[in-house]
Amino acid sequence: MTQTTQNTRVHTAASARDLTKTYGRGDSLVHALRGVDVDLPAGRFTAIMGPSGSGKSTLMHCLAGLDGATSGSVTVAGRDLAGLDDTALTLFRRDHIGFVFQAFNLLPMLTAGQNILLPLELSGRAVDRVRYDQVVGVLGLADRLGHLPSQLSGGQQQRVAIARALVTQPDIVFADEPTGNLDSEASAEVLGHLRRSVRELGMTVVMVTHELDAAAYADDVVVIHDGAITAHLSDPGQDELVAALRGGRA
């Protein structure tokens, strides 16, 4: 079943069409997204880049079904999210989407192992032991499973979050500034893990970041500025990336 899904999977893991998101009304109306069209390819590590307030997090929230769009459509894993009510959306997220956030990723009262298994527990799915051990092994967490988040370093906490995102075998993993709170060594480690999960586990990862170093780990880079996409680069070189970001700043 899983196998067929993967074979027949469209090469786009998530896409947005004419996606608009506004906040407030009247004078305080803010356009966070202005008619965004984007296709995020499956099996790739895509970075969404842009300065603060560019709308990159809003784009991610809309793509991940965490927030509703004002207009336009979002398709994830072949499913149009527009028609789903809150409960359906929640159940969809549960089964198809994984998350890694910048901070406050883990529930403080659960151990690392319990945090990793939480999404499975919420959906009532049986734990796939092989998958669990594989993910825990890849992320080097085997000896940390019994620890509470407060007993883990920032890098370890983010690795637990990645493990949690991967264990359900989601169609797409969204990472929102996953290295925002980490030092450079831990950042490199976390980004390396994200890339390995794409290369070795065949996952699709979409990461929101404003750090050039982080984007360098990605296969594709989407540049967003003022709520609109200004570039969508495939395997960009450092210079190309800098130029695209600069172009956005014009």
Binding site: D67, L91, L118, P119, L122
Partner: protein, 795 residues
């Protein structure tokens, strides 16, 4: 600093609502109580001076014979005088008893002394004329022109009602007759004062050991006496206000400590930009002061409005209520207590919150520190309090000392509250395990015990109300069963009809058995005998099962006669009595008892020796539980007519039951206020925790927790808290009730047993659980409404 204070107040207003409500309820309650007390006092004392009839002297006497001498002397000399007092006599109309005991007082035939407030008809001018009270007449249907018989048998007097009056409350007499008639009821007459128009020396001449004083002084003293009575009720009500305020302190203190924990970064930031610790503390305390003042003002206004409404409602049934008025002392007191309670509750949380180091603002986003540790000192104090308190309780049982019991109970309870941070989370965890497994329940149980001290304080606020309610309910239920036993012994029969002159109609027993509200009847055969010239029915008692209550079956041994108390004077020194039947004298051993009416009782064998022709002379009846005593009396009196006297303990029993019911209702109602405040506190704690956990909830929602699951988790959390608090409260309450029964009822009864009102206690637990669930509704809705994206963006 003022701008910070004002901005902070504006910004956090909504979060203070629950604390404010707690204070508003408490303050409003005090103000309303004050108004009700004032109006009651005014109503009760307004007419205290009326019976002095404008005379300037009051003569205090000790018995009604002295009153007779004074009144005779006054009549001889033409001195105006009127008595204060009453006789208690049965009243009947057309041979049917209207009431077993009416209060009959004097109305003067001199117009100047007729102080009664005439509503219709005229004042009596002759000895056989009477006034009737309109309120009393409502139930008996007495009207002007009726001829009433006051008193029993040969001693009765017939009077004609010529006018209706509205008696002032506190002098609630049913009938007024001229002194010459009233004086004939010497047996039940009680007069302790005479309003006197003559000189004090004349009074002293007539009754040497009487005392005279100015009527004004007498009225003032009476009013003070009534006031004291009202004050006692007010103080009792205030006791419950104190409990409500104690709960309010817990709720407010908890609110402040939660809010301060959430604002720790804000405080640290203020410290960073140069606010001193002292300035910060002052600002936060001023915030509490402002809250207290605002809530107290609202409470005073709300209480005043409530008081006006309450007095109006009470006036509807009880027209002797005075006008509602705000007493500045009550208002001032209520306001001061409201402010004081708020500031005091904020004091401790303020201290710890303002200790925050400036650097805390600069640390990465750790969220508010929700963990709090409970120190060893607290644990030691808790153990000490528990040991000392339970020691005092045991001592109080042994010594039967009430104050020791109260102190012991309070100290024990404080011990339980101090132990809360260990006890309550442990029990919540246990309860959480009992409700089963699953992510939602585990989440709820985990959240409920996340912050032990907060959990404990929240539970404690409910614990107070539930413990007291349980203790009081159980105590009253135990008193009720003790009273029931006593009533069974004192009033073994609900209704007795004893023949007056001749044997009863043979069909009477059947007609009584068919009457509404009669569960069982027993017809007693016997004969009409005479004892020392008085005609008295003598009845044989055989099988009393089903009619007689209690353990004594009222059947005398052969050769013994059981006499009503009234006949005890005819028992001779050797313990025998002479009973004459049809001119034949029989000497029987006499025993004296009560509660079986006006018939003497013998065994069937003894009766056979007295007469060969037994005829029905008495009927005993047992009432269906819940039957209205006045209705039953009316029905039976109508059936009996003048052929039998109606007595029995059902009315007394119902009155005692009613008193216990009223007391139970009043206490539960008053404690309900504390419970309501506690539930507001639970909702508040949950609501504030929601704000604190919004990121966490957003995370869970992002990962697939549905809205419904989130709502359910919060409902489970609230339910766990309220159920644990209720169960602990019920347990402690039962222990307290047991101690209370030993100490309070122990000296009065041989074996004071605790009666557990299972249904009532189950009701308390059910109400608390449902209310706990209701308290989560708003916070849960709010939590579920936040979209995951919004929750993640919140700082």
């Amino acid at each position: 600093m003022r701008s910070v204070l004002l901005a902070s107040l504006r910004h956090h207003t909504r979060r203070y609502v629950a604390s404010a409500i707690a204070v508003v309820i408490g303050v409003g309650f005090v103000v309303a109580t004050g108004m009700l007390t004032g109006a009651t006092r005014e109503g009760l004392t307004a007419d205290t001076g009326a019976p002095t009839a404008g005379l300037e002297t009051m003569v205090s006497i000790t018995d009604s014979r002295q009153a007779d001498r004074l009144m005779a002397g006054a009549a001889d000399r033409g001195v105006p005088a009127v008595t204060l007092g009453y006789a208690m006599e049965p009243v009947s109309k057309d041979g049917i008893q209207l009431t077993r005991s009416a209060d009959v007082a004097e109305v003067s035939t001199r117009p100047a002394l007729q102080w009664q407030d005439l509503e219709s008809g005229r004042f009596p001018t002759a000895d056989d004329e009477a006034l009737a009270d309109t309120n009393a007449a409502k139930s008996t249907g007495v009207a002007v022109g009726d001829v009433l018989r006051i008193g029993r048998g040969d001693d009765g007097r017939d009077v004609t009602v010529v006018g209706m009056v509205d008696s002032p409350v506190g002098l609630g007499n049913d009938l007024y007759v001229p002194w010459s008639t009233l004086r004939t009821f010497q047996d039940s007459l009680w007069v302790d004062a005479v309003a006197w128009g003559g000189s004090p020396s004349l009074a002293a001449d007539l009754v040497p050991d009487s005392t005279t004083r100015a009527a004004d002084d007498w009225v003032a003293e009476r009013q003070a006496e009534i006031s004291r009575g009202v004050d006692i009720i007010a103080v009792m009500a205030l006791l419950f206000v104190a409990i409500a305020f104690f709960v309010a302190v817990l709720v407010i203190a908890n609110t402040f400590s939660i809010l301060f924990a959430q604002r720790l970064r804000e405080f640290a930031l203020l410290r960073c930009v140069g606010v001193t610790r002292r300035q910060l503390r002052r600002s936060v305390r001023l915030e509490a002061l402002a809250l207290g003042v605002a809530a107290s003002v609202v409470g005073v206004v709300g209480g005043a409005l409530g008081g006006v409404a309450l007095v109006a409602v009470v006036r509807h049934w009880f027209d002797d209520m005075g006008a509602p008025a705000l007493d500045p002392r009550w208002v001032g007191g209520a306001f001061a207590v409201g402010v004081l309670v708020t500031v005091a509750a904020a004091w401790l949380p303020t201290r710890s919150a303002t200790k925050v180091a400036p650097l805390a603002a600069l640390r990465p986003d750790t969220g508010p520190d929700v963990r709090s540790t409970a120190g060893r000192i607290r644990l030691a104090l808790a153990v000490l309090a528990l040991a000392a308190g339970s020691g005092a309780l045991f001592l109080s049982i042994a010594a039967e000392v009430v104050p020791l019991m109260l102190v012991g109970g309070m100290v024990t309870f404080v011990g339980v509250l101090l132990l809360g941070p260990w006890l309550i989370p442990a029990l919540v965890r246990l309860a959480g395990r009992l409700v089963g497994d699953g992510p939602v329940r585990r989440l709820a149980a985990g959240n409920a015990v996340r912050n032990p001290r907060r959990t404990a304080t929240t539970a404690a606020s409910l614990l107070v109300g539930v413990t007291l309610t349980t203790a009081v309910l159980t105590g009253l239920a135990s008193s009720r069963s003790a009273l029931d036993d006593e009533m069974d012994a004192d009033h073994p029969l609900d209704a007795t009809l004893s023949a007056t002159e001749g044997p009863l109609d043979a069909g009477l027993a059947e007609r009584i058995a068919a009457a509404d509200g009669v569960a069982d009847t027993l017809a007693l055969d016997g004969t009409i005998a005479t004892i020392a010239g008085d005609a008295i029915p003598v009845a044989a008692v055989e099988r009393t099962l089903g009619v007689v209550r209690g353990t004594d079956d009222l059947s005398p041994a052969d050769g013994t006669v059981l006499l009503p108390y009234d006949e005890s004077e005819h028992v001779r020194k050797d313990g025998t009595v002479v009973v004459t039947v049809d001119g034949t004298r029989h000497e029987l051993r006499a025993e004296v008892g009560g509660g079986f009416g006006q018939a003497a009782l013998v065994s069937p064998a003894t009766l056979a020796g007295l007469t060969s022709d037994p005829r029905p002379v008495a009927v005993w009846a047992r009432a269906v539980p819940g039957t209205d005593a006045a209705d039953l009396d009316g029905d039976l009196a109508a059936l009996a007519g003048s052929s039998a006297t109606l007595e029995g303990g059902y009315a007394d029993r119902q009155w005692v039951d009613l008193q216990v019911d009223v007391m139970t209702g009043a206490v539960v109602g008053l404690l309900g206020i504390s419970v309501v405040i506690a539930l507001i506190g639970i909702g508040n704690t949950l609501g504030l925790s929601v704000l604190e956990r919004s990121r966490e909830n957003a995370l869970l929602r992002a990962m697939g927790l549905t809205r419904q699951q989130l709502r359910r988790a919060m409902a489970t959390e609230g339910l766990l808290l309220s159920v644990v608090a209720t169960v602990v409260g019920t347990a402690i309450g039962l222990v307290f009730a047991w101690v209370g029964v030993q100490v309070l009822l122990g000296p009065l009864l041989d074996d004071a047993a605790v009666t557990v009102p299972v249904a009532q206690l189950a009701g308390v637990i059910g109400v608390a659980a449902v209310a706990g669930l209701a308290a989560c509704v708003l916070p849960a809705r709010r939590a579920a409404r936040i979209t995951p994206a919004a929750g993640l963006a919140l700082d």
